[in-house]
């Protein structure tokens, strides 16, 4: 590796992590990139729909300012406003940058960047897209740029490695990480760094029904939470209204299908009933996800009108000409065909809601710094940009943006350090690695009959049943009791593999502990918040309560469970108003 003044570690090779790696390597500094999977297999590949940026190609009068307001409004005013404004303003530039990197974004007949209405919650054509695999295409472009820096010796990849913990010095400053190789000798090792950026994605797979990749379980964020990092707004978990059921995971049917004319219906008294169109005449099938998910939940669970009494409704595109469908949504339809075994051009798709995104995440300031000096967080694992509900196609933008601004902040921080991490007493690194290896050893030796994968199944079933679309305080309390039971059973586990070589069961078991701890943050955060806001809906408290709850939830780890405190939201730019989708949104000038 070429020598530079300092050394950064980035954990996570999704959109956010790769963007940060590029910014830091571009400035001539060394980066070590850790990722559970090859970076190009990160969860970001799953994003089909598109990415928002107010490029206003079609001259509809869209602007970053409107994008900002719709994002804040869609998020039910829980997001701090200045960073969101920054993101929306930078949107077009970020897209242009990705375009220059070779992303095969769809084009207008003149060869300009094509835009379409892609996510819900807006009436502007603001979504850019590359076929039906926008996230994959953007991830590849960034991965290729990082490979270029790898070839020039600035980036070192640790793919197939699992981050375990950060290493802190006596002052509580983050000085590196411990990690283990999942494709070889999985012994905990330490790696010094002057600054660490966590870009480990979301925690969707904590829930039984989720569209997230298998690996998105929030374990890394939970690990640093247990080391003192604050976790914010954990209770805000987005459920996507339209997914295909599956035993291993649920596959998303992109919102862009509704954007492109797809209609949601079920049978009522023998007739097709387009309930979203009836209930929300202004936005119809394009209402935001939380609204659509609650509507489907109501239709299926309360009114008992799901298809054949199930939790499913129809998403119908059969009225759209097949040629248009293939051109615009080929990828999404292909997924349905492949995994449900039916042709959605001919028969309406059967869909139901599934957990999709975590608005909550590690608390960061406006420059992506956590409360632990030297530790930053970006991408879906931070909490900054989506408030109480994320608009479709905004996540990719927030990942790009957070990655983009985090680089220069990391550089400034590392350059300002009095002592570089490799000048510190190496004992702090050795002792953290030793401590983590002892935990590994304990997990690998059988201590009972519990199977970790079985515990995980129970965890995800409980979380799905009780901590998603509709929340009741009594059920939340019961869920927390269950989580404590699972923690207890964790100590009586047999992982059925005692070898140190590529031990995936060890890895899952380690993660499982972190998952249960994080689930408590989510569940108790939901229990405390006695109001309804964005995705967080409690029939006992059906109204938003700004007087008491226009506040960011902050959870801090303690041995007895999370300790909660609340911080005012920065609403300095756009005054909170009621959020409703039966009427059209009018922006402020």
């Amino acid at each position: 590796m070429a020598k530079s003044k300092f050394h950064a570690i980035i954990v996570g090779g999704g959109l956010a992590g790769l963007m940060a790696a590029i910014k830091i390597a571009e400035a001539g500094a060394n980066v070590s990139l850790f990722s559970l999977v090859d970076a190009k297999r990160s969860h970001s590949v799953c994003a089909q729909g598109g990415v928002n940026a107010a490029v206003n190609t079609k001259g509809e009068g869209d602007s970053p300012w409107i994008h900002f307001q719709e994002t804040i409004y869609g998020g039910d005013f829980l997001a701090n406003q200045p960073p969101v404004k920054g993101m929306c303003e930078e949107g077009p530039n970020l897209i242009y940058l990705l375009d220059r990197m070779g992303v095969m974004f769809n084009r207008t007949p003149e060869g300009f960047l094509q835009v379409e209405m892609r996510g819900g919650g807006t009436k502007y054509s603001r979504g850019l897209f590359a076929g039906a695999t926008t996230g994959q295409q953007m991830l590849y472009a960034l991965d290729e740029q990082v490979r270029r820096f790898e070839a020039s010796g600035l980036v070192n990849r640790y793919e197939g490695w699992e981050f375990i913990s950060i290493v802190k010095d006596d002052q509580g400053v983050c000085r590196g990480i411990t990690a283990m190789n999942l494709r070889g000798d999985a012994t905990a090792q330490s790696f010094p760094a002057d600054v660490v950026i966590l870009a480990t994605g979301g925690c969707g797979s904590l829930f039984g029904k989720a569209t997230a990749s298998h690996i998105c379980n929030g374990s890394a964020a939970s690990a640093v939470y247990q080391q003192g990092a604050i976790y914010a707004n954990g209770e805000f978990i987005q459920v996507h209204p339209t997914a295909i059921p599956g035993d291993d995971k649920c596959r998303l049917i992109s919102e862009s299908l509704r954007g492109g004319g797809g209609r949601v219906w079920t049978y009522k008294e023998g007739k097709k009933w387009y309930f979203l169109e009836e209930w929300y005449p202004a936005y119809k099938n394009l209402v935001p996800r939380d609204v659509a998910s609650r509507a489907i939940h109501k239709v299926c669970r309360e009114m008992g009108l799901g298809i054949d009494g199930s939790d499913m409704v129809y998403l119908d595109v059969t009225h759209i000409p097949a040629a248009d469908l293939d051109r615009l949504f080929g990828g999404a339809l292909e997924i349905y065909e492949k995994f449900a075994g039916e042709d959605p051009r001919k028969v309406p798709m059967k869909v139901f809601p599934a957990v999709h995104y975590s608005m909550g995440g590690l608390w960061v300031d406006y420059e992506q710094r956590t409360n632990i000096p030297g530790l930053m967080a970006i991408g879906e694992c931070d909490y900054q940009y989506h408030g109480a509900n994320r608009l479709g196609a905004n996540a990719l933008l927030s990942c790009l943006y957070a990655g983009f601004i985090s680089g220069p902040v990391a550089i400034r921080y590392a350059n300002g350090l009095e002592k570089k991490s490799n000048e510190l007493n190496p004992g702090i690194f050795a002792s953290e690695a030793k401590r983590r290896q002892e935990i590994n050893q304990k997990i690998m030796s059988p201590r009972g009959k519990e199977n970790p994968f079985q515990i995980q199944s129970e965890l995800s079933d409980w979380m799905w049943e009780n901590v998603t679309v509709v929340r009741h305080n009594d059920k939340l309390k019961k869920t927390d009791e269950k989580l404590l039971e699972l923690l207890d059973r964790f100590d009586r586990m047999d992982i059925a593999d005692e070898s140190v070589w590529a031990n995936q069961s060890l890895s899952l078991a380690r993660q499982l502990y972190n998952m249960i701890v994080l689930s408590r943050v989510i569940t108790l955060g939901a229990l405390n918040r006695n109001e309804s806001r964005g995705v967080h809906y409690k029939p006992e408290f059906p109204k938003r309560d700004d007087e008491n709850w226009l506040k960011t939830t902050k959870a801090q780890w303690s041995p007895g469970g999370p300790i909660f405190s609340y911080e005012d939201v920065d609403v300095s730019l756009f005054k909170p108003r009621e959020r409703r989708y039966d009427k059209e949104f009018k922006e402020e000038k």
Binding site: N93, R148, H214, D248, S505
Partner: protein
């Protein structure tokens, strides 16, 4: 008795160990795929003759056939485990690791060679920096559309597995790598450095290693136009070589 599915798995404890077969009898579930079967084994790692065993190791991530992680040989064919639906497979189902890459453990293999080769051919657009420079070059939708097809390559390794010329005795890089060169040489900015990439494919491991068996395209889970891409690059290399001869 409840319906079951028989699965035979070729297992290997580490790169150095020799492989062995294990058979599992698993409960049948409607609409399931091979991944769901492997997950079931993890929850109850017991072979069909009732012996407890270690949990099976394999790679996976997105589970919707866009990440390329879960490639393995299923009933003799290289493909993605997530899109292999149990109902569509012949039973018993056999699972083996890809054979052209070193086995790490069980069904997990080391595909680093693939990424190293992408480095060799400079599979990227050499942008000058991340500073704001406006949009990228305009591109006709017609070209964009077929270039997009190639850019969906997920580095899964199936084309290499199926290729008779991709093996330990040859340095042939394989169809996926050649197709990427075509992609970057088509992009208006990438085209400015196309010679570098062609150079990388002229020597050992390059396009001359292809014997035109065309297996690559048949097994590609994304149906990439690999045969055409190899032919195009072959042509470009001939022109490139000729130019070099004439003008150097």
């Amino acid at each position: 008795m409840a319906k079951t599915v028989e699965v035979k798995i070729k297992r290997q404890a580490s790169t150095k160990d020799s492989p062995r077969w294990e058979t599992f009898q698993l409960p049948y579930k409607d609409g399931g795929n091979v991944i769901a079967l492997l997950m079931e084994i993890r929850r109850n790692p017991v072979t069909s003759d009732g012996k407890p065993t270690t949990t099976v190791v394999w790679d996976c991530s997105c589970l919707e056939e866009v990440c390329g992680a879960c490639s393995m040989i299923i009933n003799g064919d290289a493909r993605q485990a997530c899109s292999a639906l149990v109902d569509a497979l012949k039973h018993p189902i056999t699972l083996e690791p890809l054979s052209k890459f070193p086995v790490i453990k069980d069904l997990m293999v080391d595909r680093i060679a693939l990424f190293e080769n992408l480095k060799k051919v400079k599979a990227w657009i050499p942008i000058d920096g991340t500073y704001p420079a406006g949009p990228g070059p305009r591109m006709a939708e017609r070209d964009r559309s077929w270039a997009y097809d190639i850019s969906r390559c997920m580095s899964c390794g199936c084309c290499m597995e199926a290729c008779p010329k991709y093996n330990e005795c040859s340095s042939f890089m394989g169809a996926a790598i050649i197709a990427q060169v075509r992609l970057f040489n088509t992009h208006p900015t990438g085209e400015m450095n196309k010679e570098e990439r062609l150079d990388a494919l002229m020597g050992p491991g390059g396009v001359a290693g292809c014997s035109n068996a065309q297996n690559c395209e048949k097994v590609c889970p994304k149906k990439l136009p690999l045969v055409k891409s190899i032919a195009e690059i072959n042509r470009a290399i001939n022109i490139h070589a000729l130019k070099r001869l004439l003008f150097n």
